[in-house]
Amino acid sequence: MSLRMILLVALLACPGPSLLRANEQIFISGGPALRYFERNKVSSHDKFWGNFIHAGVLRYKEIAPTIPSGDTFTWLVFRPGYEARSREAEFDVPAEVENLIRPTGAKVVWFNSRDELINYLNRGQDRDKVKISRLEYFGHSNKRNWMFDYSNRLDGAVAEPFCLHLRDLRKIKSSSFAPGAYSQSWGCHSGEEYSAAWLKATGVRMVGAIGKTDYSGGGIPVLSTAGGYWTK
């Protein structure tokens, strides 16, 4: 067998580098709190229903030039939170969510629970072929939990099936991610503990905030704690 043939066989036998494959870029948006629960609080959350969508749209514009052509872009949105806000605000909030996201070209996938989210990450695509090369989260969080439903079904709390706690991260398959994948949580405090647990569970580093983040300015979230910073 010639050297050329050996190299060809070796090339075909090796799994292709992720750069040559179409990967999936994922944004995740949690839901807004209800004004019914929040309006009289000193720390009142989510005066605008679309903080976690609008911030993502602006973030998309920032990263769009770096997204390889051929990659798919999927936006996972927590449906119950927007439906509940819809009943309160008396207009079709999920339709507005889709309108906001449409210009990005993302495929909107509504999820109804933590388990549905995990299922999508593990099996939403053929993960042998389509790996996740970017995952970014916009929503409520503390250092141990992503809270998709904060102060929506329950005043000041989160229904347990509607959050992704540290203890749930082991259910996410690390094989779903491309080598060198990028992840970031734009929620509060994720860099204090969540990022490390994410790395342990998925093998992917997650940029997270030390301190609080603030969506209320209407743009990409900014750090709002004195001395706060993003973990690398």
Binding site: K41, V42, S43, F48, K143, M147, E192
Partner: protein, 207 residues
Amino acid sequence: MKTTPLFLALLIGILPASAQEMTETKPEAPAAQPPAEAVPTPAPAPATATPAADNPAPSDEFSQKVLPAEPPKKAKPIPTSLGDKSGPVWIGHRSVVDRYAGWGWVKKEKESWNQAKWVAMEETIGKSVAPGRNYSRPTQDDGMTYRLFGDFADYKAYEPNYDVFIDVFRIRGWEAVGREEIPKLSPPRGSTGGPSRFSERGANMRR
């Protein structure tokens, strides 16, 4: 300058959905600037539940503290009972804790308060809500005891200040019993792993 129109066009192009635009077209738009921080008034010290007392939570991010009540425009009578009062009776004691989510303590009628559970209240807005919603601020019934009608949910609630999962009571109706003292009780604390420099301070405690 020749480049000005192009520059302006580019500038407009990169700002397709500014907060200002949202303000004009969408309900409940984001403020252009973060709202000025409200000045909290000292909350009444909870008589029976003080989870923050020996483990202070400096962050007010998920605080349940409410703004001062506005003077009522017209005195509104507070109902003494509401909703569906069929089925088993539970006894509930409203306890307001600034940095701890939840409604208060719930027990069976013949149980002692030591057997009570700290609960988050699942409410159906417009139908069956917590009794305190009838006040101008929902915390004004702190210290009240009620007969509650409803059941415990088959899921838990995540309490974000102390990283703990608590019970959920689905309220259908209630009757006021009155203000009363109950034995000092402590809501559950973080149960995720052993104590750490984080869990000692609970969630969101970083200054």
